[in-house]
Assembly symmetry: C2
Homo-oligomer: 422 residues x 2
């Protein structure tokens, strides 16, 4: 019965997508504004539904960290509303003409940006994702089929009703946003087989879950989220900046994919730099797994938790206050280490040398490559995309934070005056 | 033993791709020029190897049409060389920076175009495809693993040796182009599982073959090639142009994917237009499968082969001198028919009405949408891309003819001056 309901919702989304792909920017922006207003109007209801989720989660013994992800507060709802209005303010990607040219035979040829159709999003606890994805899909002319985590089900149902109410009020067409209300895992496989109705699936969650989705989906999948991130401090680095960047990348939010996992340090500055960063990290409670060289530098420091690194530390996503440290003899050795152990998510160099920066930016094969900034910036909102549907670590179709443009494709349009092929 | 050889070649290609992705435009263009020169220098050898393929094909009773696809002549080699030099003359897509912006915090952010890595191409008889794909991959910084059809194996071995010789001579790195010399079908499955080494597979061939590849490949696939193409003649069409376009789209080369399959005609001009196009088509030997309305108009014409259409004619790719004809009451009815029966390849309208043209171009969901031109133009060379790796009818990553740009992806590059996330 749930399976039939999912299929019905997928069909409705497909039908809605045919209307949505031609909807004017004005109507779409009105619908988005209306969503922000409806969230305001239904605040007490949303918060009380969220309370139900929180009560259940607490009763089931959820960790404080996970609980925090689940919380909706007045302040968080405000920031969700602001996000919606930001998406409304962004340029509409649909209909954009690009790569236009006139051929010698007079044909005018180019590409027109168009929506993909129906986006299937499968995600975990944070309820704001429901609004983020619904709004990005709407603005980019796509319908969406949302399947959130069971921990947030009351919040998600409440938010999706508010969104659909806003769509109804603003001629947006409520069927453009569909929430699957059953969170039974057994329903994932039937969902992933509905390639007739769903054009793209974006899974968000742990590595195991993403593998499950990728291996079973019959439609294209954009996946990512696993981030083994390196920051390489070059011999020419400004060491104050390097310390601040390494500190931010590791400590500001250690449980996410764009946090630092391994610090690579050029040997020429290791003796001076490593104690500085280790003392800062030490104060924040970071445990360091150091290679032989860096261990010899750090072992005698006070208030620094350092143990010798083992082979399994390289290429590990720690998702906690733990960092691996390795001293390298050159930029090339750093590049080689990143090539061997990076996951293609976010990698950074700290350097004052333009040539080193250029070499790093050009040669590192990852979704986001930084010079002199924290990898923690890898995020759709931080990148100015309004929000993100997910972060892709694959090379195909979209890479890095996926905003409006990444939810589109193109078609070739050709304007002739009677041309035939000779 | 063959399987090991394929794996070895795939590994070599992957290694070569790491060098190739950083190769300068000058070196790549020198390699391309050198390929054109080597083809010239080895003409007698290439032609004699091609002769072996032709002898075997004739002995096995290959149809004249298929034989023609296999032939290399002095003239065709000349046109292949010209194609290579055209690719050399095109702008290098690699390293292009786009979508650049400066964020309020001073981060400079944008996308850098980069190669995909290793392209696996699996194709059928025409030996020129070997050169086309090798050169497009080279220019776009990708290594390639080629697997051509068994009918052209001697020609392909000869051409790939010439290409590798040219790469050796020009510091291009011969391993960038690998030809699999066994055409045993049993080796397809192991090839399609090598996702460690192959980043994208492009299959070219019949529907059955493409399905086999798509369903078994562990890496991304861009597929297409099946074209159910409609030309809709609007009530406002210039009927001379419409006749010329419909004639060209059906007759100029009926065995290919971008040829016309169904002609849709507005009822207001059906009585005048249909006899004109039917007489032209009749002279060229086109068999017409007409719906009731068009049959009543055409049945009494001299020298016109017309039979009543059946349901199976709609949405059929004829690949021969056969066309289905249907009279529609409006542009909307034409759009609905195309939505229901098109394969998302190439669709055209002939009209003098700007609003109808715009509506058609905007609303038809296909890789290539034409106003007032023949669908036969859907082709990388015709579109000014130099050549094509294939024609995609999927929405994901690339759509329509795939040239240099479609063989690339991007990475985000972020230039900071010490920024950390607040």
């Amino acid at each position: 019965m749930w399976q039939e309901e999912i299929e019905l919702k997928a069909k409705k989304a497909k039908r809605a997508s045919r209307k949505l792909c031609r909807m004017s920017t004005e109507v779409k922006n009105r619908a988005l504004t209306s969503i922000a207003e409806e969230i305001e109007a239904h605040k007490p209801d949303i918060l009380s539904q969220n309370q139900k989720d929180l009560d259940q989660a607490r009763a089931s013994g959820m960790s404080p960290h996970m609980l925090d992800r689940l919380v909706l507060s007045e302040e968080r709802l405000k920031s969700i509303q602001e996000g919606v209005l930001t998406v409304a303010s962004l340029p509409d990607p649909v209909g954009e003409l690009f790569d236009m040219r006139t051929l010698p035979n007079g044909l005018i040829l180019g590409k027109m940006r168009v929506p993909l159709g129906v986006i299937g999003a499968i995600y975990e606890s944070r309820p704001n994702v429901t609004v983020d994805i619904a709004c990005l899909c709407l603005k980019s002319g796509n319908a969406c089929l949302l399947r959130g985590g069971k921990e947030a089900i009351h919040s998600n149902i409440s938010l999706s009703r508010v969104i659909r109410e806003a769509l109804r009020r603003s001629e947006g067409g409520e069927d453009a946003v569909q929430l699957i209300e059953s969170t039974d895992r057994a329903l994932l496989l039937p969902l992933l087989s509905m390639k007739e109705y769903i054009d793209l699936v974006v899974p968000r969650g742990g590595a195991e879950f993403i593998r499950l989705v990728s291996e079973n989906a019959k439609m294209p999948v954009v996946s990512g989220g696993i981030g083994v991130c390196h920051t390489y401090v070059d011999r020419s680095a400004d060491l104050s900046k390097a310390t601040a960047i390494a500190f931010n990348a590791k400590v500001q939010r250690p449980t996410v994919c764009n946090a630092l996992d391994t610090l690579l340090v050029h040997e020429a500055i290791a003796q001076e730099f490593l104690p500085r960063v280790a003392q800062e990290w030490g104060r924040a409670g970071v445990e360091m797994h150091a290679d032989e060289h860096s261990f010899s530098i750090l072992k005698s420091l006070q208030d620094v938790k350092v143990i010798p690194a083992t082979d399994s530390d390289w290429g590990k996503e720690f998702l906690s206050l733990t960092a691996a440290i390795k001293v390298v003899g050159s930029l090339d050795e750093a590049l080689e280490h990143i090539g061997a152990f990076g996951s293609g998510h976010s990698e950074a160099i700290v350097t004052s040398d333009l040539k080193s920066a250029q070499k790093f930016l050009t040669e590192v094969d990852a979704a986001c490559v930084y010079a002199n900034a924290s990898t923690r910036f890898t995020d759709g909102e931080q990148f100015g995309l309004g929000a993100e549907v997910g972060i892709s670590t694959q090379k195909f179709h979209a890479r890095g934070p996926m905003g409006l443009k990444e939810l589109t494709t193109y078609k070739w349009v050709i304007l002739g005056s009677g041309q035939v092929r000779p």
